[in-house]
């Protein structure tokens, strides 16, 4: 036992304290965001946004920006990283990467090509966010700024935390594993002000449609990621703060192709509500949610992963595959119940 303890001490002192195989922080460049734009020649324009630790440590008294961007033209992300290392003469690390932005041109062509590239790098955390930019990703990264948070990595954490805002349906890198149909946030930045503008709907990793900013909270309700949001019914003299209690319950009737979704919400009504205020809110939620589902059905995009809910109704995979979900998906009747 003593030998083992001695061995563990030696092991930890050699390997875990970074005496061996060490990397100096000063010699590294911490990339916090990568933007990808398409170029006419078939190459891609990669924009690397990296942190300037000295400017961050100076705080608000410092004159310099906490972030800097460099742009490289290349065919894939790895050779782009090599080129970047050459330009800025330091080793690039992606372990603090928080944001991966693609321009809409690339979204139309499809993100499938980039999936193995970004998923295979063990440095990139699966919690990095993926977004689509209005305009070029380069412009977005150059214009994005964080007046309330000097640490850029923290800024992206807050900005794209799905619990913080009802208007962002965050999509993390890890979601690429499970989904080919999804909605990515559409972001833009002008005059050093960054914002989101709804979402882009994808089928088989290709852009097919858009969702407005107003539709996003309802999409989040359906996917069970909403914290709370305010439904404005000022025309009727009241508004309501809706809080999602738990993830929706999905019940499938395979034979009749019916899907019943139950949403669990609590409502806090403000103003002068009429007697049937509760029904009015429920109807609004139901209609908005059904509109999103119909939009997705018309494009055959299974953004709510309803296909998975059908799996328990089959004994074997062969039976499940022969059911041919995508052929039947547009015909599925959805019913939404709201429970308070």
């Amino acid at each position: 036992m003593k030998k083992i303890l001695l061995f563990l001490i030696i092991f930890s002192s050699v390997f875990l304290t970074s005496c061996f195989d060490s990397k100096e922080v000063d010699n590294m460049v911490y990339v916090v965001a990568i933007g990808t734009d398409k170029e006419e020649t078939g190459q891609y324009i990669y924009t690397f946004q990296y942190a300037l630790p000295l400017n961050i440590s100076k705080g608000s008294s410092g004159d310099g920006e906490p972030l800097q961007c460099e742009t490289v033209k290349d065919t894939n992300i790895y050779s782009a990283i090599d080129n970047m290392s050459r330009i800025i003469s330091k080793e690039i690390t992606l372990s603090h990467l928080k944001l991966i932005a693609f321009s809409q041109d690339i979204a139309f062509d499809g993100l499938e090509k980039f999936k193995p590239e970004i998923l295979s790098d063990v440095e990139i955390l699966p919690s990095a966010c993926v977004v689509i930019t209005k305009g070029t990703a380069e412009d977005y990264l150059k214009n994005v700024s964080s007046p309330l948070e000097l640490n850029p990595a923290k800024y992206y954490n807050f900005a794209f935390d799905e619990k913080n805002s009802p208007f962002i349906e965050a999509f993390y890198l890890k979601n690429f594993f499970e989904k080919s149909d999804y909605v990515l946030p559409l972001v833009y930045a002008e005059d050093k002000k960054a914002d989101t503008d709804g979402g882009i709907m994808f089928k088989d990793h290709k852009q097919i449609s858009c969702l407005t900013a107003e539709e996003i909270p309802y999409l989040k309700l359906l996917s069970g990621t909403l914290n709370n949001f305010t439904i404005d019914l000022t025309g009727q003299g009241f508004s309501a703060v809706v809080t999602q209690q738990k993830k929706p319950f999905i019940k499938v009737d395979k034979d009749n192709l019916n899907v019943y979704i139950t949403l669990y919400l609590t409502k806090e009504i403000h103003g002068n509500p009429p007697n049937d205020a509760d029904n009015m809110i429920n109807n609004k939620i139901r209609n908005k949610c059904l509109n999103i589902i119909r939009k997705a059905q018309s494009q055959e995009a299974d953004i709510l992963n309803i296909k998975a809910a059908f799996r328990p109704h089959f004994l074997t995979l062969d039976q499940f595959e022969s059911f041919n979900f995508y052929q039947k998906y547009p015909e599925i009747y959805f019913d939404i119940k709201v429970r308070s």
């Binding site: 061995f7 092991f11 195989d21 372990s95 955390l125 699966p126 594993f177 089959f314 074997t316 039976q319």
Partner: protein, 328 residues
Amino acid sequence: MTLKSKEAVAVAINLICAKTFLMVPVYFKRLTESGSLITVLYVFTLAAVFLLIYLLSGKIKIPKFLYPIIAILMVLVCSINLFEYSTTVSALFFRTTPLFIIFLFFTLAMIIGAYSNIGKLNLFFVPVIYITVFLMLLFTFSDGNYYYLFPVLGKGFDAVFSDGFFMLSSLFEVIILFFIPDMLEDKKDVKKVTAYTLIFSFIIYLIITAGCLITVHTDLPENCFSPLFLILRQIKIGTYFQHPDTAFLIIYFLSAFLYLSGILYFASHILSKTWRKLSKKMLIIPFGLLILILGVNGENLMPATSYLNKALWIVPFIFPIFARRSFK
């Protein structure tokens, strides 16, 4: 050296389950694509049925002329796993470190472990390893999609039982259960040790394979070295615990260390039983070096590995049936 019943259970569990840190859960996943339960049930039912025969028929004595064959097989399996452990660690954590240094490091750990009291070591570290894994999996299960455990029969009985038959080879280490009784302090505990080992191993395989199914839904990337690492990387607890990689490195190293030293210990123990002049301690260093040499040439062993994967199931499941039985 004798083992107390708890120590024996810990040693056996680690030897059987250590491969959950390598690619075995992925093989299970690919076998069924869903229905983790059927795969693990299938594998362990066969193991349990055979061990039941063993327990009912009394103590099976494996003829001594088979001991060297088993020891050599153990060395071979150990060197293949040394190669896998070292390449995985190299690819995931120490990419700039020369691979040979990692091999050397694991070999050193293996030899020191084999000279130590493996019973106490396993009893102390095995619960730590698997409790940590389970706790980490708990955080990923909340984001998982349970529908991916279905359809419950996966690719169907035929596919699972025909294709999955050779997968029993990955449970080659079950053979340890035939050698542990000799080392037990209290021989009456044999049945208890066997039962506990099988139950706990079953639970560990079930939970890790289920985690693999519900968290990583589509097929894993080609460069995936350890599905457990891939699953655990998805943990994000607040802003401050974003890199669970370090915790994984420690439990991965501990598991590899206990597995390699355990196999080396048993290979030496089994061979030392053949000739009285050979002592277990004499054999550990030569076997360790042999494992290092074979492990370093792991890529050349790959053709042999594919044959071993198809044939190794014979050893734990069929082999002892032909062995001489001595009824008391």
